[in-house]
Symmetry: D2
């Protein structure tokens, strides 16, 4: 397929490379063009404008936040105005339900199509084409994207016919991961201060009831206090918790753990840890217990 | 081995039956004797008093709370006074660190030995001899108990030489499970109100980052609102969260999610749900969102 | 002075009436014109458009939320475009810091002036001209408004030269009031369930360390469960807590009690209490303790 | 009256001195006798044992916690065993409801009488005989104590006939004060980081809706960061929040702000601030926002 790819950060670069590796024809755009050069070496066609990346069947956006997606989507040279009839905009970054609704309406009005397809997985998983894709949109449109999803992920979950359903699942999933980080941070601060060996403790947890990637990955990062370089930054984590709270506000669902997480991320940012991996919020319990802070 | 077994609730009956099945000679005691009769049919010797259950090499206690363990341990006819020299008291229920310390000291003074060996697993796992045993105590004593642990569990984790270390790991583990229940409850209330199919959502979670028994078990109970009969009651859950908070207090470790959980369990009990499975706290988010309460 | 007044709800009608009573020449505008008729009877000149209300020295806006203020402020017929040079826009409703900044810039660019002057006080205080005015803006502009503030309030506090400072003080003050409601709600649920007479309890509190209007007003509403009609609605309370959290987010200040309050208001709205007085969140503790809910 | 006084800390010394000043005959006991010497200079009779302090009509205990009160109350030489028939034990320190119940029963059985009469006020108020006394017990017994209460306080509130009612009111009152500290700490961190002058802010609050001693006292301590010497220590604050949570647990009343406060106090203690005034928890918000910690 002819695929435009917009947004070549850690995640996007890996995803675009996998689309190339799967034989797709990829035209790549990034605000700072040096990222495009690296991908060109792997066979991508460079686009100097957003519109140039919108000439194919599909354009994928993988950007940092709502503002970045809005900037490339709307306006005279934006995706909505540039896509040819029936072409598909796939939004793979974590955006708000409100923006997903707005994009759904704008594309419908403009004659193009829109699918939300955020992904679960850290940069390593993106590089290995092992992402989990959560897709929602019109069934035939989602089906038409199978070659795209297969190139970047290990499995696709279709969660609804309205695109925003995928965004809701994604923000709730990130909320659950952050909940794992916080609860592990509390439990590890407790047992460590009580003299239990933390590695042995994690081995016990992940061999039994918590034998899951989320516990292995984040438990390991916490045990090693490995917060740099960030696989996913605390700043990004705060953004995603905000999206969960915003969704909860819109649907009138109180989310007390999400409220706690928001305060945790704000504390981390205010004390100089915005650049750290988001797992660093799990070190705040140790800090509050008299141990070293996340930046130590 | 000659093993006394005190406490024949859901968990204890199954554990004692597995000790019998493994060829041990079991003398069983329970406050209400009808439970003893059932086990006698499987080959257990009935004890009419605690002291009668303390004539062998080992006595295991599997009781509801600190008070119950204190009641059978201390006093003229209690375990400490009744065990012969070098015999071992194994405490498998979830008790406070403070009581574990007190029992450690009392047995040392009395010439007998004490090991904390709480278990992870619900009644089904107990019946299938699939518990996870978390043991702590003097190394040779713990080693001597291998035949006991093998008969009741699938794996034993030795987490320290002071018995209370095992209790700390156990209460922190139960705290982590309750955190899973609460975070799942919030996430499921959110996506359900947003129109996502909850079974599909759980399938997604447990196929990806949350592919762990804790998420499958409690996600399923929440999705089915299957809170009766209780595998482990809300009253028991409150007790265990109290123990986690008490441990955090003693070690000066703030535990904000545990604080939230305590309030959740109190709400559940105050509104008539103390007899429900402890997973019912996960239904409080739906209730707060305008949906049915845990008792509905 | 010639004063335009936009927004004739409970609060605005009373404030405009007091401006009339103080001898000012008031032109009044409201989206639904029946409110204007009532005020005309007291001597106000009716305005059929926002622009008509902007022909004098000062225009005051007293509206429900950011959206409403934006709707009358911007656009070809809005306040910014309609005010004559040097005329002053006084925003007395509780708006976001972001909107205060935007209005400050827009008026500066348009040659008019902007002052934030939110007020503390419920409708009774507004009717009695006993509001507390919190003003911020250029010193000479604020000074010029003295006759306006004197007509509506009992005292004016000038808290800065940037208008948004007044909004920050206002949202933080509303946060403190909501904190009083929540903490009183918890304490009263506790002592009431323990058999203490609640009226006597409030008398004790407000005769001693808590001898303040906030405790008398909200303690009384809670003791009488007098949640209708709303002096200030739960929907408005949620809006204000959101503004506090938004300010905290922008300044990177975690606000755990505000996070709790947000969840409380969401619960109240989701269970059908959005129309109740915001003090009704204080009844949630009794509800969680097995007592009647806010809607009972 | 002949009054024994047990416990000569900051509060107790001042109260005993006021009893002397009012003409009572005071026999004083303290674990470390140097405090007794100081009071003897003002006319008190020194007691070398608890029993010696129990020979009069009334004995007042003003001690740090439950353990200290238990230590002097029970046992062969304790208050219960030493008081003559119908003599009255007045417990003025903040103790648990459970201990109040136990003392009520023990005195009833022993033929003496028991009244709970905790006080509100910091050491300055105790010195000035301006405490507020919260009393509960049999009506004639409470009435008989009027001369005692008048000597130490400015007003007495009788809140019930069961002594523990006074303890419930006291722990709930301390909970409300700590809530004021926490909410002020959050609000002040917010407005200060937003550039508002904190003294001016407090003046505004305490001139309007929060015109109460609790806001003036604790707002001032926070604004001046005056945490040493402690009028009431963080360690004492944690003890009292524990009592509130324990009361809530017993009555099945969830107390989310109290849960937050407990975590705050634990953080303060774990980071070295247990000796600071309990108002220092209000500095944690500034710390989390990137400002100086309570110990700075």
């Amino acid at each position: 397929m002819h695929i435009g790819f917009i947004g070549l950060g850690n995640m996007g670069s890996a995803m675009a490379a996998n689309l190339l590796a799967a034989g797709h024809d990829v035209t790549a755009y990034n605000r700072s063009p040096d990222k495009v050069d690296a991908l060109s070496a792997e066979g991508a066609r460079p686009a100097r404008t957003v519109a140039e990346a919108c000439q194919g069947d599909v354009v994928v956006t993988m950007l940092a936040n709502d503002d970045a997606v809005e900037a490339v989507s709307f306006g005279d040279d934006g995706i909505v105005a540039s896509l040819r009839p029936d072409a598909i905009h796939v939004s793979s970054s974590t955006i708000s339900l409100a923006l997903a609704e707005r994009l759904t309406a704008a594309h419908a009005e403009g004659g193009s199509r829109f699918v939300s397809a955020p992904v679960f997985g850290r940069p390593e998983a993106a590089a290995a084409a092992k992402l989990f894709v959560v897709a929602a949109g019109a069934p035939d449109t989602v089906e038409a994207l199978a070659p795209v999803f297969e190139a970047i992920g290990q499995r696709t979950f279709v969660v609804g016919t309205e695109p925003k359903a995928a965004n809701l699942v994604k923000v709730s999933g990130n909320f659950l991961i952050a909940s794992v980080i916080e609860s592990l941070g509390e439990a590890m601060a407790l047992v460590a201060k009580g003299g239990v060996d933390v590695d042995q403790y994690l081995d016990l947890l992940t061999s039994t009831l918590f034998d899951a990637p989320a516990y292995r990955t984040y438990g390991g990062l916490l045990a090693r206090r490995e917060f740099e370089p960030a696989g996913f930054s605390a700043t990004g984590g705060l953004k995603d918790v905000r999206l969960a709270l915003e969704a909860g506000d819109g649907l009138q669902v109180p989310l007390p753990i999400a409220s706690l997480l928001r305060d945790r991320f704000l504390t981390l940012l205010a004390t100089g840890g915005g650049h750290l991996d988001w797992s660093a919020i799990g070190a705040l319990s140790a800090w509050e217990s008299g141990g070293p802070g996340p930046n130590a």
